[in-house]
């Protein structure tokens, strides 16, 4: 039997085996057909056919309670910034800053026979920061401490103080020009310098060890030297820049000028004490009222000031009402407020404004973060075309959604706009928040569906 070609005996019959082989091909092709339907084309026409299932509205009628909290103290040690001076105005009252520090012991080199003492001064190198009116005369006094600086659990605070001698060891009056950071002011301490010079030359026992040195020179305090002071200046308070310099010369034919430098001591012994007085301001009663005053008591203002420890608190008493609505999402939540008009001409506005969450005890807890995990910052924009009024805006969507996620909003869980850590602990930067005209607004982009 030969099976070539169209054999006459050949008969075509249906082969199920071949048929079943084919089925996978059908399925593969079919799935390509379905999966290939992916690309989209954009039209702008056709939108009239839609009945949108979603509705986006902005609600800014949730009330925001504004109050001002006064913190017990602010941690000020080891900021490497010394602040000294005083300032007063009718809004924030008076404030004085006092800079504490001590000196580092060293093995003093032998002073030559022909050495003759000239003078001595503390070098205070400007950081560039100042508060108040730096065009008026500033007087600073230096006192010697009569007790050693001892940090409490490693830290020192704006309220910390150590005993000092009432005698003024050195004093300087000057017109501060702190905007040029490479200039310095020299606070003369000639008598102290001579005493030290002699002790070094005589190899006095007081200078023979670190312990005896710190018993002899316990520390220093730079205070505001006058009631008329009208500014606070900042100087760099670290081992390299804050120093006592003793000038002397060698009595040769050609006098040779020489100096001895004693640097600032331990970093965590450096701190600033802050004294404030709210008498005759709207904040006068804040201490007797439990360190918090609602804005209705303070002309609808909220107060913020770094080292003084004034911080505004914002609470959302009616936000719980949102939970009564069915089927919604908050797409965006903004906290918007303005500085009081005309309140920042002299001191300016804080550039970086963070926001912290707080609780029933008015503690400053963690700073809110943005999606990238950085501290959430307010943007500062002009409100009007004439660029007269400015406003701060925070995107607090994450905070609000997180707070509402358990279907309950804790009224006591408020927010506190505040300076960043550095400015908070080493500046008097301030902000006066308008609480009524216009009020602080919680602006919610509310999607219902």
């Amino acid at each position: 039997m030969k099976g070539n070609g169209e054999g006459k005996e050949g008969k075509q019959i249906f082969s199920f085996t071949r048929f079943f082989l084919f089925i996978p091909i059908i399925f593969v092709t079919g799935s390509i057909l379905i999966s290939s339907c992916t690309k989209k084309y954009e039209f702008t026409m056709g939108q009239d056919f839609f009945d949108s299932q979603t509705r986006l509205q902005v609600i800014d009628t949730f009330s925001v309670n504004l109050s001002t909290v006064l913190l017990d103290s602010v941690k000020t040690s080891a900021t490497m910034i010394g602040l000294a001076g005083g300032y007063r105005d009718d809004i924030f009252g008076s404030v004085e800053c006092e800079a504490y520090f001590d000196l580092r012991y060293q093995d003093f080199e032998e002073i030559e026979e022909k050495a003759i003492y000239d003078s001595a001064a503390f070098m205070l190198k400007y950081t560039g920061y100042s508060y108040g009116d730096t065009t008026s005369l500033l007087k600073l006094n230096l006192h010697m401490l009569t007790e050693k600086i001892e940090p409490y659990a490693g830290y020192l605070y704006s309220t910390s103080s150590f005993d000092f001698s009432p005698e003024v060891t050195g004093s300087v009056s000057f017109y501060p020009a702190p905007n040029s950071s490479d200039t310095a002011v020299y606070l003369p301490v000639n008598a102290l310098g001579e005493e030290l010079f002699n002790k070094i030359r005589d190899k006095d026992e007081d200078l023979s060890s670190s312990d005896l040195f710190s018993e002899y020179l316990k520390g220093f305090l730079i205070t505001s030297g006058s009631q008329d002071n009208n500014s606070v200046i900042a100087f760099t308070a670290d081992n390299d820049n804050l120093k006592l310099i003793i000038y002397y010369h060698l009595d040769n034919e050609e006098p040779e000028k020489k100096e001895i430098t004693i640097s600032m001591g331990q970093e965590n012994h450096q701190f600033n004490a802050v004294k404030y007085d709210f008498t005759n301001t709207l904040l006068e009663d804040i201490k007797t009222e439990g360190n918090i005053l609602p804005s209705i008591r303070t002309n609808n203002y909220g107060y913020l000031q770094g080292l003084v420890g004034l911080i505004p608190k914002m609470q959302f008493p009616t936000l719980n009402e949102i939970l009564a609505v069915q089927r919604w999402k908050i797409l965006k939540a903004e906290l918007v407020f303005r500085p009081v008009s005309g309140s920042y001409e002299l001191s300016g506005l804080p550039e970086k404004l963070l926001i912290y969450d707080t609780d029933r005890e008015n503690n400053i807890n963690s700073a809110l973060q943005d999606e990238k995990g950085n501290s959430l910052m307010a943007t500062l924009d002009y409100v009007d075309i004439n660029e007269e009024e400015k406003q701060y805006t925070y995107d607090i969507t994450g905070f609000i959604n997180n707070e509402l996620s358990d279907a309950y909003f804790d009224y006591y869980h408020g927010l506190m706009p505040g300076l960043d850590q550095e400015k908070f602990t080493s500046s008097l930067d301030r902000l006066l928040i308008e609480g009524k005209n216009p009020p602080v607004k919680l602006r919610i982009y509310f999607l219902t569906y």
């Binding site: 092709t29 009945d51 509705r55 902005v58 797409l331 996620s405």
Partner: protein
């Protein structure tokens, strides 16, 4: 391994890669917003060049799934495998505006063969409807003077996987049935990039569907006259909806909505005439959409009609009856829409020109059809689509499921 298998696997993988590259959807039309989307033509292969006409045509060298009774016409020795792809350039215009889109897609894959002298079968995959739009709209931010960009998009559609059979009752009378499994999804989404949300409503639809057909042939001298009738019942689709809202805080599944989607009762009739390699036909079809309930407030439905005609003849001068014979085709179609948008019909008409080209040395052929058409109107602020479409149909034929038996 038969040569056909090699060729078809080759062609299939080619098609798959082409489809992957263009990765396009079969429809992009704002009118696909409504109902189950834009209804796909049921015509296959050569019918595409004849205005979609096919109700009375018997399957011979191509499978005609429009009428299941036609499978009886499949040549007794052949297994026919058909793949169709369709590319379309559309220009959408309103009174004020004009936009164009291009899309292409693998359209259908099916096969047909005869099991014995009285029983023939076909099965395959083809779309029933498709949805594709992405419409940018502006929406108000209530409580402010602002507006924001909201995008409405739709994807999906209904597909069918069918298996059909045709029985030759008498010498001139065939009947047939296609049983199909309809499945797919209707996905609608509203989203905004500005506010980072999306509201997505997905309705999965499925059901079994049957359509019936009859074909009767009268022979008068050299002329063969065929009458075809098709019928399918109205069918509700089973639906399962999932609606979700997604924001940066997560995705939430909302209440499941209930939507009703239905396929209407459909009846069609056609007459065809054949003499040698010449054939021509006319179709009429009517779908009872009026009884189908829709929830969309922007449109109403009415009973839709389809009229078409088409003819096929050998290229004058080409060698008739040989493997080198080239067919020319011509036809036209008019569709009265089931949609009335704002009381305005979205009717459409097309002219088609086609050709059937043999592939050298094989039984295979390529059918190419050019389609020029228009749908809708710019009246009453509506949208008119003008389009040029190209159908490419591979008709692969071989003695594939046959084996020779020797006695």
């Amino acid at each position: 391994m038969p040569r056909l298998l090699k060729t078809s696997v080759l062609i299939l993988s080619l098609l798959a890669s082409v489809a992957g590259i263009i990765s396009a959807q079969s429809t992009s039309s704002p009118y696909s917003i409504f109902g189950i989307g834009i209804l796909e033509s049921k015509s296959i292969g050569p019918s595409k060049g004849m205005g979609g006409t096919g109700i009375a045509f018997m399957s011979d060298l191509s499978v005609n799934s429009m009428n299941p009774a036609s499978y009886s016409g499949i040549d007794s020795l052949l297994t026919i495998f058909e793949v169709g792809i369709f590319g379309k350039y559309s220009s959408f215009s309103t009174v004020h505006d004009e936009q164009s889109t291009v899309n292409a897609n693998l359209k259908y894959v099916l096969m047909g063969f005869r099991i014995n002298p009285w029983l023939a079968t076909s099965f395959g995959f083809s779309p029933v409807s498709s949805i594709g739009y992405n419409i940018n709209a502006t929406a108000p931010v209530e409580g402010t003077p602002q507006e924001y960009l909201e995008t409405f998009s739709g994807t999906g559609g209904v597909n069918q996987l069918y298996a059909g059979a045709s029985i030759k009752l008498l010498k001139n009378l065939s009947i047939g049935v296609n049983s199909a499994y309809l499945f797919g999804n209707i996905t609608r989404m509203e989203s905004s990039a500005t506010f980072d949300y999306s509201y997505k409503d997905v309705t999965y639809v499925s059901n079994f569907d049957f359509d019936y057909g009859l074909n009767y042939q009268i022979n008068i001298k050299k002329w063969k006259y065929n009458i075809g009738i098709i019928y399918s019942r109205s069918k509700d689709l089973r639906t399962k909806n999932t609606t979700t809202i997604t924001t940066p805080t997560g995705t939430e599944t909302l209440k499941e909505y209930t939507y009703d989607y239905s396929i209407p009762q459909n009846i069609g009739a056609g007459i065809a005439v054949r003499n040698g390699f010449f054939r021509a036909g006319v179709d009429f079809e009517r779908s009872d959409w009026e009884n189908i309930e829709f929830t969309n407030v922007y449109f109403q439905t009415r009973n839709s009609s389809r009229y078409s005609f088409g003819t096929e003849f050998p290229l004058p001068g080409s060698r008739k009856g040989t493997g080198k014979m080239i067919f020319l085709r011509f036809g036209g179609e008019y569709r009265q829409s089931y949609l009335l948008v704002d009381n305005t019909p979205i009717d459409g008409g097309t002219l088609t020109f086609g050709t059937g080209l043999p592939l050298k040395g094989t039984l295979n052929a390529i059918n190419v059809a050019l389609e020029l058409g228009q749908i809708g109107t710019t009246k009453r602020g509506l949208i008119r689509e003008n389009y040029i479409g190209v159908h490419l149909d591979m008709s692969l034929r071989d003695l594939w499921f046959r084996k020779r038996m020797y006695e």
